[in-house]
Symmetry: C2
Subunit: 345 residues, 2 copies
Amino acid sequence: MKRIKTKKVVTIGGGTGSFTLLSGLKKYPIELSAIVSMADDGGSTGILRDELGVLPPGDVRQCLVALSDSSETLRALMNYRFEEGGLTGHSFGNLFLSALEKITGNFSAGVEEAAKILNVKGEVIPVTKTDTNLSVELKNGVVLAGEHEINTNVEVGIIGIKKAFLSPRAKANPRAIKKILEADLIIIGPGNHYCSILPSFLVTGIPAAIRASKAKVVYNCNLVNKRGHTDGFTLDAYVAELHRFLGQDRVDFVTFNTRQPAQALLKRYREASDELVSFVQEENPKRGYRVLKADFLSRQNIPRNKADKIAHIRSFIRHDSEKLAQALMMILELGEYENILRDIS
Amino acid sequence: MKRIKTKKVVTIGGGTGSFTLLSGLKKYPIELSAIVSMADDGGSTGILRDELGVLPPGDVRQCLVALSDSSETLRALMNYRFEEGGLTGHSFGNLFLSALEKITGNFSAGVEEAAKILNVKGEVIPVTKTDTNLSVELKNGVVLAGEHEINTNVEVGIIGIKKAFLSPRAKANPRAIKKILEADLIIIGPGNHYCSILPSFLVTGIPAAIRASKAKVVYNCNLVNKRGHTDGFTLDAYVAELHRFLGQDRVDFVTFNTRQPAQALLKRYREASDELVSFVQEENPKRGYRVLKADFLSRQNIPRNKADKIAHIRSFIRHDSEKLAQALMMILELGEYENILRDIS
């Protein structure tokens, strides 16, 4: 009889994409580690970084809430944003993490305490402990500093991004390295390509660890191209960029949504010049990864929060937690039955 | 064989006094209900009332933390005050209660959720659900509105308080009435006389419920007279004022500290014109209550918090939680052995 070992799954990302992914994965009996981007500097998170000198809590908070097994109220509390007075726009969960960082003396210890209080299943690991910021160089040579600036500056949409870097350079959290090396499956994305996904690959030590790991690597391809960031990117273009940052053709599987969103929704996205990501099977005959095409689209409506200025823009065309998790668990379980999947792509 | 029934104990107060009292009482196997003053409008609490339109969280927070059985870190978090930026002076626990009030739709429901999250032993009950403020009339006829104003206006210290009232008039929380009527023991104070104790007796329905209750009533006499508020008050003067508000000579026992604080400490208080409360046995031969005289003084040092501007003033000469709780439990257990105590006073 074979010994049954709990499989180790590592996710790499940040923001709403990670929230969706982890909400689905947490229902499976796996050892789950969420490695989280630390480049956020917008909104509530940006104010806390500036004023309190804390590390960015926003992305970590979303992952903690996704993996929390506590009451609905406590989870709602963590995502609550104040809507009046001097606290307007502050996420309660961000204040929670920042206060815990102050009390415990460092961000990682604060995150550990938060995980206990929120009864988190799995582990949430900041990709770096370095206080760093994302910068990009546009195609005209202009450098923009800060994720928030990158997300809001209109130049980005007109001129386009040439390259991204962290300043100062950031060293990987040793715990993140350990988890990557031990993983059976590494899941990248979904999420904003430049602001949530790439920042983790810019952290020194992360690409090398992924190259050295024996894990299967899956990339959850985004549903929509963000204007100025990834205009016209196909599935293959996304993977090519990841491979460039990883220094190796390391991706084994890509999940890709084939279900069309409602026309009205598509129209709204197109008005902001955001287009669906495309995939053409014939485009790349030498593709070294398999593409798992399926309906990954969420049909759920998202409650709006007046104080969260960006949630209603970023969250309408998005992945379905359960469908995505199911496909990923199938990939994880392939093992010796891998041949069965040959026909999928 | 007698059936052993869990005894019901109700405390009435607010602020640091309630924190001290409840921290001691929670270690005993009693059914504990803390009825909390809702007149606070200073500091972090005042800003939240003004800006978010919430009920005052400060006193409730202190009681919840005192009765919480959760981790040291979670308790420290609830008392944490931000020290920089736009959040300076805000107590994290106050933000926690205010956000829960917003999420649940009302303050009482928010307090209940908070009690669950903090694993609170016993119940914390706001004395009223009315959004009300404390006012006082000074001896020169000037009216000051708001607890914070009363605590900080220098006129109070020079002219003195004539009377106190709530504006608008507040109706008692039915849950507070129920607990008072069912109580075996009602404990009043310690706490700031005008700002933490009297506001509860100004709430319509509370004095009548105390008169109707079969409970023994204990008053924990303050250690220090606050300048302009209770200058020169003796133990008997405090009780006389309580009786005036209660509409009946209802106090059965008074605890009184007989231990002198350190000279250096006394000197600092005297510089602010705050004097120790005195008790003269012979002053009142017809005293209808017993005075339990003992050493109730705390010898603990309190860690200072830069952001809590008032903690270092209000908290040095104070009750010892355990000594106070022990004496109160003795009073509770008297029952048929009451005669034994005849000699105490």
